[in-house]
Symmetry: D2
Subunit: 325 residues, 4 copies
């Protein structure tokens, strides 16, 4: 009988998830295995909601956003009872190894399974890029491209009207998306959760931008930052009262950042990481997270991955300031 | 001495504005005229903020969003004194005919100038498509494409998580963008300013969608509609409390709808309308708005354009319902 | 028993075909009918290759290029025997009305079926826009957008290197795509099958462009035109020999023009035309082609549609020349 | 007096070149320097065609393809006399350090200047990714995204008609673009200059794809590979004669791969590499190439960069095969 592994998506979806599912299925098939697609994450696992995926079943999904396996959050799985039930389900389903696609919370769930003896490998998929163990998570590059396309559009209007725009981007407590989006879109200012902002800084930067004769004033604000996008906008408008120039508007990019056809980078990363996950299961190296380190796809123990120190971005933050002049 | 005409952009910007400025300049040049670009709309006209645009000055702008002339709103121009001053300025600048690019408010300004004897032609440019005299305004098609790209992305996440998404689109008091976006993106429901919604309809539609086994529930809400996007979202979440499926999120697309490189349709419409405006000035038919009627670029008196009855969309609304099944 | 209609795609595919299939299925369902999807065009019809499509079966296809029904060409169907067999097959399959999506050749096939008593309605789908009976075919707007995106990119390189680029676009014997692409992309010159070019014109235009200090020289050539793209390129390079500036390169856009997610315009047109086709069958008005006339979706007898005089484009050709200055 | 450095673009253009020029100018300004933009590469340098670029002069160019400095090839510069003249020109222009943006040939030119005592730093910009010293050149990521968008579109048609498509991509003698494009687009086969193909392999792969019930057969061929795209197409069509399925078509993507707004990745890489080049000049570390190594922006001596061994791609080639099943 064929060896059987499982694959599931957990937490939020991100572009490249399908590309990664496809890679797990086809790399699994090339090992001679059967790959079981478990639907709706840990919730679906508890329900035994699964079907075997052959190579044809994942044909054409490489370029689609979202995930054919669907994803969900599960309260039950957070309990010891739920986790024990999940282990039983995996046995009933004949799953000898599990690949989990997702972010921080999904990885913690996988760690719980590891501690109960399940051979598990995690692939980091989240646009927030908040798993410090890996330089890039699958989905981040596409989200960045979506953000800069939006900011490029907003700049058209900003320059036509000489306006300020405050753009809130995703990232939870991590400023990566905001910082990279600021550099890549040429924003005048960026506000991150990791780097506190002196009071009055927004208005002094605005004043500087005016003096330098900038045609617009774009501020990228990470969703977890203080002040928030809303507060930054209010501060500008209170000061600009009575004047026409550099009145501010807020744009919250929201869930458009999570969808869309994955970029080339994300398709490549997802393909390589999915194949790497299978290779780890094949060689008995489980309980690990696949990561991008020094530009190479490699892996590390799940426990280490979840303890990794988030970077401080000081150097890139300075670069953003220099290039915004 | 060469005859001289002026061109200005007023109100909000929209994709295709630059393409239209280019068409006015080059069609003007082919008449042997000099074209004066007036910056910052009526405000800039009052300031005499203008420069001659030759054919090279508008090279390469066809594909850029925003407007090289910039746009602005002017309180002063709304007064009789302001309008009289504008007429004087035009004389000082030697402008014998004026092309105004913009929406409803811009057209009213142009009418005021007409009534003071200025030979003026209006080209309808606004993503709101709220000028009933024309089937399409410049910018609408690009905005629609921006909206459906965003909704396509949101659908990826919605389907992956079995969520409801409420997407607010622009249009002021006009439901055109929302209705067309709903049909073109395959939304499950659309809420327009022009068509009142019976109470309870959102939840009954959601229930229907569930029964039909729809993977998501997308509601497009025009910014001028009641209930608002925020209210629709709250209504769904109040009812869905405790359940995981079809929890709702709001996305306000905002100013990204106003920017971006213009679509082929908008570049063509802008090119044809800009050239038509020049032809009208050349043949002495001023005081008119260039319009798209029965699929053809033509024109009508400004007064009629501003009195046109908005359509009721009943037939397309029914089509949206049929296709959402 | 439910009334049953059939739908098939024939000839080349085009963006919006799926959107139209979806509209036929859902509009059919709202009439209480069953809709049979016939695969691989007339070839599949002869093989009886078909399955019932319910509303869920067409879920999510609105935004996909290509066609879920596939398309094909059939030599057998061009013979009287083949056509007689097709009529028998339709009877066996219980099909009481047929919607055919395609271009010129597909419409001729449908006419043959009409003459054998089959209630048939044609929806014009082809990027070539060579059916003169309709102002626009489904797919044309998307193809145009694909072309102008490509030309925008080519212009970047052309301007950086001061090069000439000769871009061949599709359209068979019809110059619509080429002409509209030239206006919408701001090409310096366009060559159409319908408008003969005096000898020496390419080089004189190039010389003019140089004198006007144009940063590039872009020529759009329709695939059916004389001289061909290859010949235009050779002519330029023979003359430019030894010089660095305005050396020419050819780009043949090819099949990328036929694919991609349909634009908003094409999704709307496909949705309306598909629904109109069903309405015609429901009211017994068959043997007709759905067309866009004076900006409205309407219909005309198939025979008339196939005899319509192609337009001469003289006015738009002049506009292209004026705007290229 | 301010210290003055120069920046020029040489060879072919690539997306991100402008972003890099902007980074050089603004990072230079933050060092207190004046940055001279030299137009048309080494050819323009010989002519002394240059102007000072301040921070405003590079405003808004971050997102534009091509290069505001233009680029060119120069025969004269390839001679010792030309190089000596270039050194004199740099002295006349007061340039104390030079940043060269370009590929292989541009770097060789820079090396010649280095050998004549000019403090020079090269930033690798070329979509071919054929500089083995760096993991990525600026422009490659955008080109890859352009290619996969095109292949996604071609797949629509290929699947609708069950066709084979042979797609030629750029890369000169380097297979990077082709290989990555094949993985990222899910092509059935890829042909590289670096990896010889056994005779008969194309047809056996096609046969395999048919048996696996693949809806299409996409072959990506690098421009420097044998067999060429044309030959692959002919081979398939000779064998498929008389059959309808899997007839082949060629698409040569051509210069569209070189243009377009740069991706987020390329804007970030260009920003970081431009700033690094300035830092190297500031710290007296010249005669070097800025490179991406192990995922980090760093640098190496120009001589080493030009001697680096090209990678063999064996592992990624195997991955492409596994994922194409």
């Amino acid at each position: 009988m064929k060896r059987r592994i499982g694959v599931l998506c957990s937490g939020g979806d991100a572009p490249g998830m399908n590309a990664c599912v496809r890679a797990v299925v086809r790399a699994g098939a090339s090992e001679g295995w059967e790959v079981l697609g478990i639907r709706r994450g840990y919730a679906g696992l508890l329900d035994g909601d699964a079907e075997v995926l052959n190579n044809r079943a994942v044909g054409g999904i490489l370029r689609h956003g979202g995930t054919i396996l669907m994803t969900a959050r599960s309260k039950e799985f957070e309990t010891p009872e739920g986790q024990a039930k999940a282990v039983s389900r995996l046995k009933e389903l004949g799953v000898e190894g599990l690949v989990v696609l997702g972010g921080d919370g999904s990885a913690r769930g996988a760690l719980a399974l590891k501690q109960r003896g399940v051979p598990v490998v995690v692939v980091p998929v989240t646009i927030d890029n908040d798993l410090a163990a890996t330089e890039m998570c699958i989905g981040v590059d596409t989200a960045l491209n979506t953000i800069i396309e939006a900011v490029d559009k907003i700049k058209d209007t900003a320059a036509a009207l000489r306006r300020a725009f405050v753009v809130e981007v995703m990232g939870r407590r991590c400023g990566y998306l905001a910082l990279m989006a600021a550099i890549a879109s040429g924003a005048e200012m960026v506000i991150l959760p990791e780097i506190p902002l002196e009071p009055g800084r927004v208005l002094s930067e605005l004043e500087e931008a005016r003096k330098r004769d900038k045609p617009h004033f774009i501020v990228i604000v990470a969703e977890g930052a203080k002040p928030t996008a809303e507060e930054v906008c209010r501060e500008i408008n209170n000061q600009a009262a009575g004047e026409d120039e550099f009145q501010a508007r807020v744009t919250v990019l929201g869930h458009v950042q999570r969808g869309g056809t994955p970029s080339a980078f994300d398709r490549l990363l997802a393909s390589q990481m999915g194949a790497e996950a299978v290779k780890l299961l094949a060689s008995g190296q489980h309980g690990r997270m696949v990561v991008l380190r020094r530009g190479q796809v490699t892996h590390c123990p799940l426990e280490d991955a979840l303890r990794a120190e988030p970077p401080r971005w000081a150097e890139l933050y300075s670069l953003a300031e220099v290039l915004a002049q």
